[in-house]
């Protein structure tokens, strides 16, 4: 399965941008915690604790903000700059997650931008890379 070359149409993006971002952020945080709990995401929470993250879906105009404490991921409702901001279009995030595309490749091609603490960015990237999807029901969606 290849992710098609699509961007979210501007009109839809305008609509999405006006919806509250909390439900999708909540969904993201809940899924991340599920993955940690089931041992799929081998997160060393010590490295992530007290750090604030933002995932910006550029074409959709949506920003998902979350943080971590020493045990789990939590919603981030504080104002101010996150420690790490990752921005890309929805399709490129999907390619990265499905292992169709290497984050460094997207970065070289300026399709992924990393702002803030570069080392934290590396920790997050390497964490996602170390997830063994073979062991989960999601395996069949992954690029081989």
């Amino acid at each position: 399965m290849r992710v098609p070359e699509l961007t979210v149409p501007t009109r839809l993006a305008r609509l999405l941008g006006r919806l509250p971002a909390t439900p999708p952020a909540w969904l993201l945080v809940t899924s991340l915690n599920q993955l940690v709990k089931r041992g799929v995401l081998p997160a060393d929470m010590e490295l992530l604790a007290e750090r604030r993250f933002e995932v910006r879906l550029v074409d959709a105009g949506v920003s998902l903000r979350f943080a971590a404490d020493s045990r789990r991921f939590i919603l981030d409702r504080q104002p101010g700059e996150p420690d790490l901001r990752l921005s890309a279009n929805v399709a490129d995030f999907a390619r990265m997650m499905l292992r169709e595309e290497d984050p460094d490749t997207l970065f070289f091609n300026r399709k992924l931008s990393i702002e803030g603490d570069t080392e934290l960015g590396l920790i997050v990237k390497n964490l996602l890379d170390s997830v063994d999807w073979h062991e989960t029901p999601l395996a069949r969606f992954m690029a081989s």
Binding site: D44, L47, M96, R99, E100, E101, D102, P103, D104, T105, F107, F108, N109, R110, S113, I114, E115, T118, E119, G121, L122, I123, V124, K125, N126, L127, L128, D129, S130, V131, D132, W133, H134, A143, S144
Partner: protein
């Protein structure tokens, strides 16, 4: 005719599996500390992941090598010794070492452990390779990317140590194993700390019109809006020299030897290495799959071999920098 071994990188268990699944003969890995030259936060293997990786590869008839290729630092040599003990205990097929002191330790402690001389050992001629053979019984040497194909042949003809060369990946400026450039901006370099441009010293700043790369506070490059970016290494920065701003040391390029595979096979290279333990499983799958196909085709077709456009495209997309090069292999120098 035997084909050279295809040696692929893995910074995580999924990357190791990706390499094996896509046709690597051998995978090389490192531990989670500064005993290897890709000491990045969150990357590399602990005891558990190394064991499952080795089991996975073995079950499919492939080999696993452990890179312990930095230089042991004064006052803390025991960490490097422990890494060698751990590799022996894990039962890896060989360790890749650069430091001669560590070779000596490995030979004494683990006489059955197979030793490879790392590219960081910077052995560029057969005398150096043969000396390491005499002293420590090394079985393979990885040549730095500074030799022409003729020079590689010359080394092979004068040694019975297996010779491994680089086939694909980001290029270092041509002084491999001897570069301290990164120390000037960050105090850390590959041989001493296992990293060039450690992430904690890197800052990407998004300006109105440009993306600025800073290393240890020093501005090393500025990318225009859609201009391709590279790794923030000092050697690939653009600097103002006598009123001109340009890549004063090296342009960001990637090595790609696909076009030369028949000659590489012909001169008796034992193994071809892919750079990139810091890259993700997606990269490892794509490079391994492509080079496997190319290597098999080169073995079948010999001089009739030609690089398929689809392979070139696949690898081109993954490269750092806008260009790919045959590197030193086809330089005219003698």
């Amino acid at each position: 005719m035997t084909l050279p071994e295809l040696v692929c990188p893995a910074g995580s268990l999924p990357a190791l599996k990706a390499a094996v699944d896509n046709g690597a003969d051998t995978v090389y890995i490192g531990l989670k500390n500064d005993t290897n030259a890709r000491n990045f936060a969150g990357l590399n293997f602990d005891d558990k992941s190394a064991r499952s990786g080795i089991d996975y590869a073995r079950a499919r008839g492939r080999k696993v090598l452990m890179a312990i290729n930095t230089y042991a630092q004064g006052g803390n040599v025991s960490r490097w010794h422990r890494a060698i003990d751990e590799a022996a205990d894990l039962g890896v097929d060989a360790v890749i070492l650069a430091d001669l002191g560590l070779m000596d330790y490995a030979v004494r402690r683990h006489p059955d452990l197979r030793l490879h001389l790392s590219v960081q050992g910077s052995a560029t001629n057969y005398e150096a390779v043969n000396l390491a053979r005499e002293l420590f019984g090394i079985r393979r040497a990885v040549l730095p990317r500074v030799l022409t194909l003729d020079q590689v042949r010359h080394v092979i003809e004068h040694t019975d140590v297996e010779i491994e060369v680089f086939g694909f990946g980001s290029l270092c400026v041509m002084v491999e194993g001897r570069c301290l450039l990164s120390s000037y901006a960050t105090g850390e370099s590959p041989n001493t700390h296992g990293v060039c441009s450690p992430a904690k010293h890197v800052r990407w700043e998004h300006g109105e019109t440009s993306l600025d790369a800073r290393l240890g506070g020093v501005l090393i490059d500025q990318y225009g809006k859609d201009e391709p970016a590279g790794y923030p290494t000092l050697c690939k920065g653009r600097f103002a020299v006598q009123g001109d701003t340009y890549y004063a040391l090296e342009e960001p390029t990637s090595l790609n030897v696909m076009a030369m595979l028949p000659q590489i096979i012909d001169i008796g290279v034992a193994a071809i290495k892919v750079e990139g333990r810091q890259r993700s499983p997606a990269y490892v799958s794509q490079v391994t799959r492509t080079l496997r196909a190319a290597l098999d085709a080169a073995g079948r077709e010999a001089q009739r071999f030609s690089v398929r456009p689809a392979w070139q495209q696949e690898l081109g997309k993954l490269s750092e920098g806008q260009q790919q090069t045959l590197g030193a292999y086809n330089r005219p120098w003698k």
